[in-house]
């Protein structure tokens, strides 16, 4: 296992390889800033795929397409907060007319963000799939089949999850997605 590159090393390698407006700090894996929860003003970068480490803009998201997975990134020092899996975020673009009153103020141009950690047993929420009950696509945790509706504050619509996913309010800053406020709600699985 030790020979496999970790996500962190991949992200860091990508960061150093791509052009960045900020000067990257020499952050090692134990840097507490990498574990810090998403902060107001943080940007969001892809956490996987070909564009891993690159900043996300509204143009990267199409209505109804599967969510992208992201890490927060401190623009001041280019530190990506990938030191805790609890910081991973799901971002999806939907028709704003479908949002409920709680969701609308946290969205920007139909884009909403939520914690990627299932509130049931802490598994990653990975799937975008037609709901078990109804016709909308919803987030689904493939561990134990919990489903969350991002149009209604990621409330649980199927499965054993005890509560909704924590929400992450968004704004657009200089054309890029940014975090407007810390997580609303508890991040992570139930403990007992």
């Amino acid at each position: 296992m030790d020979d496999h590159p970790t996500r962190r090393s991949v992200v860091f390698g990508t960061l150093t390889a791509c052009a960045s407006v900020a000067v990257a700090a020499a952050a090692d894996d134990d840097d507490p800033r990498k574990e810090k929860q998403p902060q107001k003003g943080d940007l969001l970068v892809f956490s996987e795929g070909e564009r891993e480490g690159q900043t996300i803009t509204p143009a990267d998201l199409k209505i109804g397409e599967p969510p992208v997975h992201a890490w927060p990134k401190d623009p001041a020092n280019a530190i990506v907060r990938d030191g805790s899996r609890l910081n991973e975020v799901l971002i999806v673009r939907l028709d704003p007319n479908e949002f409920d009153e709680d969701t609308r103020p946290r969205a920007v141009e139909g884009i909403v963000a939520y914690s990627a950690i299932c509130s049931h047993a802490g598994c990653p929420v990975t799937a975008w799939i037609k709901a078990t009950e109804g016709n909308d696509d919803v987030f689904k945790c493939m561990c134990h089949n919990s489903e969350y509706d991002p149009r209604r504050g990621a409330q649980v619509v199927f499965g054993p999850a005890p509560r909704r996913l924590a929400a992450l309010p968004l704004v657009i800053k200089d054309g890029e997605l940014a975090i407007a406020a810390p997580f609303i709600g508890k991040v992570g699985g139930q403990q007992g």
Binding site: M1, H4, R7, A121, C123, M142, N145, Q190
Partner: protein, 585 residues
């Protein structure tokens, strides 16, 4: 990281009462909880090797893994009068898979999320409860636990955050706490440790995270690691040539169930899980020791010998349920056997000698389209490539990835000499193999999780099947079919000619006649039963105990069936309760 835990005893409550302004006269009755255990029977090698009939101190009661109780006070005649003697709500959801262990009137249960509860086995009163504080970022693919190991005056808990914890059996206080591996890399523990001569053995979970499996032993006294044997051989080790390149480093072979033990030859038999990732094309070769049984020397961890049930696993068919040790008479000769109704749908009968494991016989105990046959000399199954998952193409196969029988254990009755198998029939599955990068700590299946299917064979009239087999002849003696439910719970047999099992989505706990398969008694419980029934005795009275608490893979199958318009129950409530039954006097 500091691991915190909490133990609540009645002493704590009493101290609070005495130091508070609460008027003790308000308490109408004596406190129901008895406090720390005053009198506890130390668990020795002699007791584990020859347990008293009224106790259940190992995963399957005895080292041979037979899941058989010699108690016969509750029997085919009076089982119809079985009623609840007491119940106890654990307050925890998800899959309660542990047997209620009993040592001379003291019961220990474990729950998901790392709790251990000590109870009076006669009354159900709580002595103490240990609650592990799990890390906030823990990813629990299988939030469950299968019980504590018992040794001397200590208990040993293996946790989903990959620690081995020793507790004082009398108080629940933590004596030591050892990190086994790193939960952040997908390594975790769910099994009951196997304890042999003061060595606490555990096997790791994590086959779906691309780990390299192992069995390790710790000193019961101080938690010092004594040995660690990896189930995937490194360069220079026997069996390494069954792997290509660096595949062995992330080859799976997790060993997440308790082993069995032959005290005469001092050999531990441990089941090994699937190869990783699932499609065999991503790890060409036979892939020792995945989907195998390995014979270990408990003193050193050395692998004495092995038998691989099937090669180049591509179906997620862990063969982790350790084989039962049974003295068998077959074809006019007596021999010491290993019996393993496999996840791969083959009922395996093997011969164990101190030096080797020999193939004796194998047959399909549920429908499968994967195997064309078995080579008679070697016991190597002959695979049909049309039903072997591969990269870039959807492949379907029967049975499903949950197999003919998953981890829930079969039982062997020393009276009837039959093996009772919690089988699943008419399930198939399939997926498209996909080359995906390994990221430590993340699922690495070799397919997208949402692509995994569970399908039902056309014309199927049942799913779960409790089967009775004669291992000597290979003949099925009887079976009881469940038309609307899978069967996902361990089986226990007793000298009262009873076969006990839950495992169905109708929340029933059932007793069958061991000889005929006649349903003799059933009781609806609070939830579905995945756990193992046990039989025990206190003060001359026999009890039957089981935990009811649905979740994990039973729930996964349930969701898939419900979605598939099969007409099955789509809502099995969760929440754990210990049920204890006795004959109504």
């Amino acid at each position: 990281m500091t691991i915190k835990s909490t133990t609540v005893t009645s002493k704590t409550v009493k101290q609070w009462l005495l130091s508070s302004s609460v008027a003790l006269t308000c308490l109408a009755a004596p406190a129901a909880i008895a406090g720390p255990i005053e009198s506890y029977s130390s668990v020795t090698s002699a007791r584990l090797e020859n347990p008293e009939p009224g106790n259940w101190m190992l995963y399957r009661r005895t080292y041979d893994g037979q899941g058989y109780s010699p108690l016969d006070q509750i029997n085919t005649t009076n089982v119809k009068n079985l009623v609840p003697a007491w119940t106890f709500a654990t307050g925890v959801v998800e899959g309660h898979e542990a047997p209620p262990l009993v040592n001379n009137g003291v019961m220990f249960i474990t729950t998901p999320m790392g709790q251990v509860i000590a109870l009076n086995a006669k009354t159900g009163d709580q002595y103490w409860r240990y609650k592990r504080e799990l890390p906030e970022d823990l990813f629990q693919l299988h939030p469950t636990n299968r019980g504590v190991g018992l040794w001397q005056d200590k208990l040993y808990l293996a946790t989903t955050d990959d620690h081995l914890v020793a507790l004082d059996a009398k108080t629940g206080k933590v004596l030591w706490d050892k990190k086994v591996q790193d939960y952040k890399k997908g390594q975790y523990l769910t099994l009951m440790p196997l304890i042999v001569d003061g060595k606490v053995m555990v096997g790791g979970s994590g086959g779906e995270f691309g780990v390299r499996g192992y069995v390790a032993a710790y000193d019961a006294e101080d938690g010092k690691e004594l040995w660690r044997t990896f189930t995937i051989p490194a360069e220079g080790e026997p069996g390494h040539d069954t792997w290509s390149g660096d595949d062995w480093k992330s080859g799976g072979g997790s060993a997440w169930m308790t082993g069995t033990y032959d005290k005469d030859t001092k050999t531990v038999y441990w089941g090994v899980g699937n190869a990783a990732p699932w499609p065999g094309g991503m790890h060409p070769g036979d892939n020792l020791y995945t989907s195998s049984v390995i014979a270990l020397d408990p003193a050193t961890g050395k692998i004495k010998t092995h038998f691989q049930y099937h090669q180049n696993d591509s179906w997620d068919w862990d063969e982790v349920d350790a084989p039962m040790l049974v003295d068998l008479q077959r074809d006019g000769r007596s021999f010491k056997s290993l019996i393993h109704p496999g996840r791969d749908a083959i009922f395996w009968v093997l011969e164990r000698t101190p030096e080797r494991i020999n193939y004796v016989s194998g047959w399909n105990f549920v429908h499968t389209d994967v195997w064309k046959g078995i080579e008679p000399e070697t016991g190597r199954p002959i695979v049909d490539p049309a039903h072997k998952p591969t990269l870039g193409k959807r492949v379907d196969f029967c049975p499903s990835l949950w197999g003919g029988k998953d981890w829930p254990s079969a039982a062997y009755s020393q009276k009837t000499r039959f093996v009772y198998v919690p089988a699943n029939e008419n399930f198939c599955g399939g997926f498209t193999g996909e080359k995906l990068p390994l990221v430590p700590g993340q699922l690495w299946l070799g397919t997208k999780a949402e692509d995994i299917g569970l399908t039902v064979r056309p014309g199927a009239d049942h799913f779960g099947e409790l089967q009775a087999w004669d291992p000597a002849s290979g003949k099925k003696v009887w079976s009881h079919n469940f038309p609307k439910s899978q069967l996902f719970g361990s089986v226990t047999a007793t000298a009262g000619d009873l076969v006990l099992v839950g495992g169905t989505n109708d929340r029933m706990f059932r007793a069958f006649h061991a000889k005929t398969g006649e349903l003799l008694w059933e009781q609806k419980t609070n939830s579905g039963i995945m756990g193992m029934p046990v039989a025990y005795e206190v003060d001359g009275v026999q009890y039957i105990a089981v935990q009811s608490g649905w979740g994990v893979d039973a729930q996964r199958i349930q969701d898939a069936l419900a979605k598939g318009n099969t007409g099955v129950e789509d809502n099995v409530p969760q929440g754990g309760v210990v049920w204890v039954f006795a004959v109504k006097q």
